[in-house]
């Protein structure tokens, strides 16, 4: 008997990274978000001409004050852009005029619309993480999902909406599932790393889509690659008649899926299998779980969730598909899953944050603030850096090391089989 045998198995860099990342409860993400906002504010301040002018012509104090004001103004604009103007909302509800109320809460509803695809892709990536898989291919799966969903939306005719909508969503999910199944199968059967294969399939998906839209799926009387519009029976139900109010049922479908993913992962034996494979593949094998099967299932489900993100966009918002519609949601999904600690609830909250930032950013770039939209990306990047490097946050805020490690995200690194 020897004492060194008592040590945990050797970890590679990626394992350590992910263990660090999932440790430390909710304090780290929240503090990371706060830190991200503070740094974002600093950047607004130091990039504003007014502050430098004040420094030169006035005093240092005045300069600092102006810089501070600039940052506050920016956050105000961000807030109003994302949630609406509280006093306007108050006034509208008091007035009781439907049109006024709609106009007042429109920014908030738009934030929910913007958050919806984030929820889907965040859940997609999180489910992969839970099984120890790094699905970088959510982007490709989303694209395929949107293609298949849009096809189902215009090519299948004669169905009532009650059947057509679920069918189109399902076909979108299946498209994504197929695109996830391929790297899952490759990993299970050949050991091909899912990171490489999903990245490659992203390119295949993008180019395949372009070809499909250019030729077989090209809308009549069009030359630029775009699909026909989907039938009305396939359009996701919108809550307001006004064309400008885009809020549709997709948001609630996303929330329901969040609950479903939670139930699946933590309350069913299938989820138990996936989580065991993700937490300790050796023990999973010992326990009679087939890791290869779990990997294929997890990648397919992850793909299906990403596919739904695509389906949600085409059936709920655009109602047709153009190649430019691929917007990098898949990659944001990785960020959202990381920030949400791969917990379905965490993912939903992170997705709402990302939706808020994106929608609020649109207001921010317009006068009077005129802050470039890149600020939002910089803030997101800062938040992620802090989430991914919790040691920094722990040092800044003097947090103690967590004693227990949260179960879950566990991705084996390069060369891990």
């Amino acid at each position: 008997m020897n004492e060194t045998k008592e040590k945990a198995p050797q970890k590679n860099a990626a394992q350590i990274f992910f263990e660090e990342m999932r440790g430390g409860s909710v304090a780290i993400p929240i503090l990371a978000i706060i830190s991200g906002f503070i740094l974002g504010g600093l950047i607004v301040a130091i990039t504003s001409d007014e502050m430098y002018i004040a420094f030169q012509e006035g005093s240092t104090v005045l300069g600092l004050k102006i810089g501070f004001n600039e940052a506050v103004e920016a956050f105000k604009a961000l807030f109003i852009g994302a949630f609406g103007n509280p006093s306007e909302i108050w006034a509208a509800f008091r007035g009781g005029d439907d049109i006024a109320i709609q106009a007042a809460i429109k920014p908030f509803l738009e934030t929910l619309v913007q958050s919806t695809p984030f929820i889907f892709v965040g859940l997609s990536v999180a489910l992969g993480f839970r099984t120890g898989l790094f699905n970088i291919g959510a982007e490709g799966q989303l694209v395929i999902g949107s293609v298949t969903a849009v096809w189902a939306g215009y090519a299948i005719t004669g169905l009532p909406a009650l059947i057509h909508i679920p069918l189109a969503l399902l076909i979108g999910a299946l498209g994504g599932a197929l695109w996830g199944f391929i790297p899952g199968w490759l990993k299970a059967k050949t050991g091909g790393h899912e990171v490489i294969n999903t990245i490659m399939l992203n390119f295949v998906a993008a180019n395949l889509t372009f070809w499909l839209l250019k030729y077989p799926m090209l809308a009549p009387n069009r030359t630029d690659p775009i699909s026909p519009d989907i039938l009305d029976s396939a359009k996701l139900f919108r809550f307001f008649a006004d064309e400008e109010m885009r809020f549709h049922i997709g948001f609630f479908i996303a929330l329901a899926l969040g609950a479903l993913v939670y139930w699946f992962l933590f309350k069913t034996k299938w989820g138990f299998e996936l989580r065991t494979v993700g937490s300790n593949p050796d023990a999973a094998r010992y326990a009679g779980i087939n890791p290869a099967r779990s990997i294929i299932i997890a990648m397919s489900l992850s793909g299906a969730l990403a596919g739904l993100a695509g389906a949600n966009e085409v059936l709920g918002l655009n109602h047709n598909l153009a190649p430019a519609a691929a917007t990098g949601y898949g990659f944001d999904g990785i960020a959202i899953a990381l920030l949400g600690k791969s917990q379905p609830l965490g993912v939903v909250l992170s997705a709402l944050l990302f939706g808020t930032l994106r929608n609020g950013g649109n207001t921010l770039k317009r006068p009077p603030t005129s802050v470039p939209i890149d600020l939002i990306l910089i803030m997101q990047a800062f938040i992620l850096v802090f989430v991914a490097a919790p040691a920094i946050v722990r040092t800044i805020y003097r947090l103690r090391e967590p004693e227990e490690v949260e179960e879950g995200v566990f991705v084996r690194g390069w060369g891990g089989s």
């Binding site: 004492e3 945990a8 069913t268 300790n280 050796d282 023990a283 010992y286 326990a287 179960e407 879950g408």
Partner: protein
């Protein structure tokens, strides 16, 4: 004369643990001083403080009366302290001389290595201390016992006077261990002093001049082999009376539960790790598999539990051929498995104890109804098992990873023993456990045998195998050299078999190996 080494009042605190609590230890010139304690008692921490890897919170270290300013291992080494690590620090593709001179090279004409001079010194040291060795041999070609000698020569080459052996016999056959004892004796006769870290009571009594026992970071007492016996030492280590003798009652042997025939299993490098092995285990008996680590035991167990599919041969469990069965099929037929590496295979450390207790039965009624896990039922069962198997834990939702090694093993034992099975495969079931847990696991194994189960016990601890088994199969280089009756054999006899020396079965083995070769070519 001042003692060669004095540790005074050493105290080291880690968050939540007092690893060393005012430890005093004196090493006299020319003595072998055994440092005895369970895993986690603080032996390693103490030595790490001596080597400057940790800074003590309090206390001082004197070497030959001089204050040692700790801070780096270099200081300890230059003061003449050297350590033979449990896991050798050798470069396999270097020669003995190259390994010895590594880091302290003799050079000529500036920066050119002077191998001849170094080899001469190695030769001189080996003659002086009776450490037979060929300076030009490659380390990879040397047996483990000889590699350990290279480690010792490395220290002597650096003029160490105080040698620390950290669990040196863990990797040796009994014969090699005996030889090491001779080497240690010859070293002290020539004026060296030795600290011998171990938890094996028998060795301590055989070799030490003085014995210091530590428990939970404190020195419990210092004694000599003349004044102590195994039971008193064990009680000192554990802090209570320990029953080291396992009482086995005669059990009627029943039907054949597991039958293995001509089994060939390849390891990860596609070498035959298990080479044409045949044996059977009957109900009500414990078949021990003895052998030095790495002689195919791991692969054998993996094949028997479905984790590695064998190249050839037959495995029959309760009359069913399971040679290509999945782990789940084998589990369901009625096999329990205590895996060799509990943290790698046996537990999900980030899962709760409750979840670990259903790790291989989660899909069965009553833990799952349809696809849905029955939380209440799972928790209820967990509470029962924690109680029944005396798992010391704050709660059933505590993470398995935060338990001590002994309690982690109890979780596995609880899980595997609570199912009704006809076969138990226990691989290194007590590795790294404290005496109390070892005692517990041993009694559980005997109880399992008494209940009419067949038990296959794979262990590199010869004492354990000798004590518990009814029959002993000895593995050497992938083959079973011989199967002997535990009551009619001696430790020496099994030791010889472990080294591959078979007094009566040589002809048989030769035949078997020929057959294997044929099989192998057929299968390619």
């Amino acid at each position: 004369m001042a003692p060669v080494l004095e540790l005074k009042n050493i105290t080291k605190r880690f968050p939540g643990v007092l690893a060393n609590d005012q430890i005093d230890l004196t090493l006299e010139q020319g003595e072998i001083h055994a440092l005895l304690g369970e895993n986690g008692a603080g032996k390693t921490t103490l030595m790490n403080i001596l080597f400057g890897l940790y800074n003590a919170d309090a206390g001082e270290i004197l070497i030959k009366g001089n204050h040692l300013v700790t801070g780096s291992s270099k200081d300890a080494i230059s003061a003449g302290v050297g350590m033979v690590h449990q896991h050798f620090m050798l470069v396999p593709v270097f020669t003995v001389t190259e390994n010895v001179m590594l880091g302290d090279e003799i050079t000529k004409y500036g920066e050119i290595l002077d191998r001849t001079a170094a080899a001469d010194r190695v030769r001189e040291i080996s003659q002086r201390y009776n450490l037979e060795i060929d300076p030009d041999a490659y380390v990879k070609d040397l047996p483990v016992g000889v590699q350990q000698r290279v480690e010792i020569i490395k220290l002597l080459y650096r003029k160490a006077d105080i040698l620390i052996f950290d669990e040196p016999t863990a990797v040796l056959t009994p014969q090699e261990a005996d030889e090491l004892v001779n080497i240690m004796r010859s070293l002290v006769n020539q004026g060296k002093s030795i600290i011998f870290i171990t938890h094996k009571l028998r060795e301590v009594l055989a070799v030490a001049d003085r014995i210091t026992v530590i428990r939970q970071g404190k020195v419990v007492g210092t004694t000599t082999p003349a004044q102590a016996d195994q039971n008193t030492l064990a009680s000192m280590m554990v802090g209570r009376e320990v029953d080291l003798q396992v009482k086995k009652e005669a059990v009627e042997k029943g039907e054949v539960i597991l039958e293995v025939e001509d089994l060939i299993v390849l390891d990860d490098r596609h070498q035959a790790a298990v080479n044409s092995v045949s044996f059977e285990v009957r109900a009500g008996e414990i078949l021990g598999v003895a052998g030095v680590q790495g002689n195919g035991q791991t692969e054998l167990v993996e094949a028997l539990t479905g984790l590695r599919s064998p190249l050839d041969g037959k495995i029959e469990l309760l009359g069913k051929d399971v040679s290509q069965a999945t782990p789940r099929e084998i589990t369901e037929i009625g096999s329990a498995h205590i895996p060799e590496d509990r943290q790698r295979d046996g537990l999900v450390l980030t899962y709760s104890i409750a979840d670990n207790l259903i790790l291989n039965t989660y899909y069965l009624d009553p833990f799952a109804k349809g696809p849905i896990l029955q939380q209440e039922e799972i928790y209820k069962t967990a509470e029962e098992l924690v109680e029944k198997f005396d798992i010391r834990t704050p709660s059933i939702i505590t993470q398995a990873g935060s338990l001590s090694g002994g309690n982690q093993q109890k979780v596995i034992v609880a899980r595997e023993f609570s199912r009704s099975t006809k076969l138990l495969i226990a691989s290194q079931p007590t590795r790294g456990l404290d005496v109390g847990s070892v005692e517990y696991i041993h009694h559980q194994l005997i109880e399992k045998r008494g209940s009419g189960s067949a038990v296959l016990l794979v262990s590199t601890e010869l004492d354990e195998v000798m004590e518990l088994s009814d029959r002993i199969a000895v593995m050497y280089r992938g083959k079973i050299v011989d199967v002997v009756d535990a009551e009619q054999t001696t430790k020496e006899m099994v030791g010889l078999l472990m080294a591959g020396i078979s007094p009566n079965g040589a002809g048989k083995q030769l035949e078997a190996s020929k057959k294997t070769k044929k099989n192998k070519t057929n299968n390619k």
